[in-house]
Amino acid sequence: MRRLGINMIAWLCVTHICYAQQRDTTHVHVLQEVKVKASTPLTPASPVTPSQVLTGEALQRMNSLSVADAMRYFSGIQLKDYGGIGGLKTVNIRSMGTNHTGVFYDGIQLGNAQNGQVDLGKFSLDNMEQVALYNGQKSTLFQPAKGFANAGSIYMQSRKPHFTGDKQTHVRVQMKAGSFGLLDPSVLFEQKINQRISASVSTEYIYADGKYKFRYTNGVYDTIAIRHNADITALRIEAGLNGNSTSGNTEWNIKAYSYRSERGLPGAIVNNVFSHPQRQWDNNFFLQSSYRNKISRWYQLLLNAKYANDYTRYLDPDSTAMYTDNTYKQKEWYFSAANLFTITPWWQASFAADLQYNTMDADLKYFAYPSRYTTLLALATEVRLRKLTIQGNLLGTFVNEQVKMMTGAGNAQQITPTILAAFEPFDSCGLQLRAFYKRIFRMPTFNDLYYTFIGNTNLKPEYTTQYDVGVSYSKPSSTSRWQSFSIQADAYYNRVTDKIIAIPTANLFRWTMINLGRVDIKGIDVNAVSSWLLQKELGLQTRITYTYQQAQDMTYLGTQFYKDQIPYIPWHSGSAIIGLLYKKEWGLNYSFIYTGERYSQKANIPVNHLEPWYTHDLSLTWKHGIRKTVVQVSAEVNNVFNQYYDVVINYPMPGRNFRFSAAVNF
């Protein structure tokens, strides 16, 4: 296998060394036919960290309802999915833990000071223009300090209005329906106000009764049941204004976002208990704005501001258990200024300062009512030589925490570095070698610090250290049958230290959080994208990913399960997408997801062993334009072979399911 790998790289280089005329600066892996809208970048991209991107119509054709579904087609991530439309879905990048994943929406990070996790199942693909994954960080200098502050990041870019010709108004009305009693109508309205300003409103309502069949069997018992209390009702409304100056030197936008939902929490399926009554309500609101100005050839400014207000109510009405009705309220204020200095054509530097203020209220007994001031200062520079690009930054994090009751966690100051390098050995080959080193940490969350009984205010930050070497190759697009091809492969070693873990105290109800764990991760990510023109009017696109991860628990030296694989990280996982496109009207998409064997607990013993699971999805789309109206219809079958599996044990995933959608654009 290794032999073949080496051969492939050699072959790639030899065959295509002289094809390229220009350096491919985008280097993103776009699932094709979609033009990568460069949207006139004010700075050239610096492709020095591993990145994966899904864009535009590719996203729409992908048998995916939420951003979480789409993330499954990236290498190097594990999606934790509690099943169903309303089930919690979080992403763990390269086994470092969900809390080290930064999620950005239109360039500004989505926060959750309470538990440090963002539920990607809440973000519909309906209004998404692009979803991207960056290991380490997005390798641009010109970003808020928060952009440097995560071990890995997901960037979601919502749709921006684009008007062609004399079109002033664009409306899209869409209806999706299918299994789980899904009804998902959405309306998008985009209006050009003048040459420089456009407005958009996007709204989506999701209802699903969430019922689906699941099956558990050990070969002797074999039971099929229906998932109960997995219903969801959600309403999303987004409104935005986008503007730019006629010169193109200034861009700005304002966005208001509201998401309100009620859902059932169907719970774990255990012996004798096949349904649970818990409910959850979420109201998320934010208002954010971004302003970018190229003030001179030498200096550019990027300002970002945000206010977010999040409300969660959790109800456990079960009178046979502990009746619980709690609300959690969080607020966040955020302001960022980033400055980019172009000192010479090959040398840039930036300075970014972010200020953030978080508060949390909860009607828990003995709650501390914490508030946290975070200041982030980032100094970064990039030197771009003919074959070599080097980027480095230092990030200073200064946290000041206060509590109204009990004792607070006090203050923390940390300075952490990142170094990225990319080397292109041959001119115009499309081959790039790259490497990065990054050390970063996450702060203990409010839950880690203050959750009644469990929290521990003595916690220190949890660190990750990443070493990555990789190679990427892009065959430039050509008009031959083999239109484009790109492949990237990375090998990495990550270490998580001072990992915040729960340890027991006097009894099962009493845990506390401490900085104890250590995880060593060795991994390989590979992904390859290509597109072909098989016949005139018949295109083929493929996308393949493969991930290998060895993530060992190094916490207790000399104990029985030292060096065992950490829970829910498969050694092997991967995905494949094959799409056929005919006459730009018909699209047939096949996707395959594979998750290999893994363990549900940190003891790698037979009773904790989980068999692999894999799903096959199919979709057929038809798109037709009549004058200015474009109609799109699609039908999907997901999990075609009706495989029953759990991502998280006792949280069953749906078997075969269907979805239909129809959209009219005018």
Binding site: M1, L4, M8, W11, Y216, N218, G219, V220, Y221, T223, G267, A268, I269, V270, N271, N272, V273, S319, T320, A321, M322, Y323, K365, Y366, F453, R481, W482, P504, T505, A506, N507, L508, F509, R510, W511, S530, T542, I544, Y546, Q560, F561, H572, G574, A576, Y594, G596, E597, S600, Q601, K602, A603, I605, P606, V607, E611, P612, W613, Y614, I649, N650
Partner: protein, 380 residues
């Protein structure tokens, strides 16, 4: 073109060769290990069961068995003996007892008491008791405590005790007790129930309910201390009751109730998480979180129940106590006075069972299921 396609297919093959397919579903396997030489003298005990709680939501409650006649410790025996039980034994085991030829496993989050043949492990049936905690027996009846009563504020109901006929496995009567009742003990036709009020912190319950078994009504409440948990009788008509404290300012403590007066007659300045009384000795271990030290304080004490005084504060005499992370279960062999301590470790990995001789020296240790906590001796 064709060579490109070929290489592409090779790449597909390369990736697919890494993947393996699912195996057919299988019964959760048992495994066993030889840990000690078999008993040579005839003993009245065949062995003992260990109930492993398993983490909440994991559905990994499991039963192990140590066989005195063979010296073999066998893990996870229930699933193999009863492969047709849907979703195995259940979620969070909380108590196991043998009465007659039947064994009773109280499975808390599965809302049931599982009844199986104590010698063949074959399932006999189950009794539905929501949020059940402990079981005890008297004259052909089983008594099961439950958090899930129907009396009082629906958001904070009182607990109850269910009386079950051990022949028909049907609930015959129920009696309302205090909040979140835990362990029970029977003395002279009266059932004493330790009430915790754990769902109501900081307003814990602080009473022991007394139920007259003839009428099956709560006749009185004995005020003891907050957050009661364990209750064990000695041979002198006294009950030893543990209070868990509030985990902040009030520490854990051991109280003594005189059943002749049904009043607290004494308390001992000793933290107590669990205890087992054998003859005149009460073996007590305790785990308390110490905020200033940032760690657990663990002790293993013996109290003489005749003199009501502390005999030792560490009955493990060979230093093995330093290896035990979280003592979570305790059994004393009535004949040999061997001491068995279950270590739940970090609650997310298999635990360890330690066997000490009566002088407190380690005889052997063996790996158990997740969170071992409860024992039941089986007669030959």
């Amino acid at each position: 073109m064709s060579s490109h396609m070929c290489r592409f297919l090779l790449f597909l093959l390369f990736t697919s060769s890494m993947v393996a397919c699912r195996k057919d579903p299988a019964v959760s396997p048992s495994d066993e290990e030889y840990v000690d030489k078999p008993d040579t003298l005839p003993s009245s005990y065949a062995g003992f069961y260990v109930l492993n709680e398993g983490n909440m939501g994991s559905n990994k409650a499991s039963i192990d068995f140590y066989n005195y006649n063979t010296g073999v410790y066998k893990r996870n025996i229930y699933s193999e003996a009863n492969p047709d039980v849907v979703k195995e034994l259940g979620d969070v085991g909380n108590d196991i007892q043998v009465y007659g030829s039947k064994a009773y496993a109280v499975i808390n989050m599965s809302n049931k008491v599982e009844v199986f043949d104590a010698y063949t492990i074959k399932r006999i049936g189950q009794i539905e008791v929501p949020n059940c905690r402990y079981v005890t027996f008297y004259k052909g009846k089983a008594y099961v405590s439950s958090y899930a009563g129907y009396v009082g504020d629906p958001a904070s109901p009182l607990g109850y005790v269910a009386e079950i006929d051990t022949a028909s496995l049907k609930i015959t009567r129920t009696a309302t007790v205090g909040y979140q009742p835990e362990e029970m003990e029977i003395v002279k036709g009266k059932l004493y129930v330790a009430n915790s009020g754990g769902y109501r912190y900081p307003n814990y319950d602080r009473t022991v309910s007394v139920i007259d078994l003839a009428t099956f009504k709560e006749t009185k409440k004995i005020d003891v201390a907050i957050n009661l948990d364990r209750i064990k009788k000695d041979a002198y008509g006294d009950l030893y009751v543990t209070s868990r404290g509030d985990y902040f300012d009030i520490g854990s403590k051991l109280f003594i109730i005189d059943t002749k007066t049904d009043k607290v007659k004494d308390s001992l300045p000793i933290a107590a998480s669990n205890l087992a009384i054998q003859g005149d000795s009460a073996y007590i271990y305790s785990v308390e979180w110490n905020n200033t030290a940032g760690g657990n304080t663990i002790s293993y004490a013996i109290v003489n129940v005749k003199t009501e005084s502390i005999v030792t504060r560490n009955f493990i005499t060979d230093g093995t106590d330093k290896q035990i992370q979280i003592p979570y279960g305790l059994l004393i062999n009535p004949l040999t006075h061997d001491i068995y301590i279950a270590d739940a470790k970090d609650y997310v990995t298999p635990g360890t069972l330690y066997c000490f001789d009566k002088t407190g020296k380690l005889k052997w240790r063996v790996t158990t299921g997740d969170i071992p906590g409860h024992f039941a001796l089986l007669r030959n």
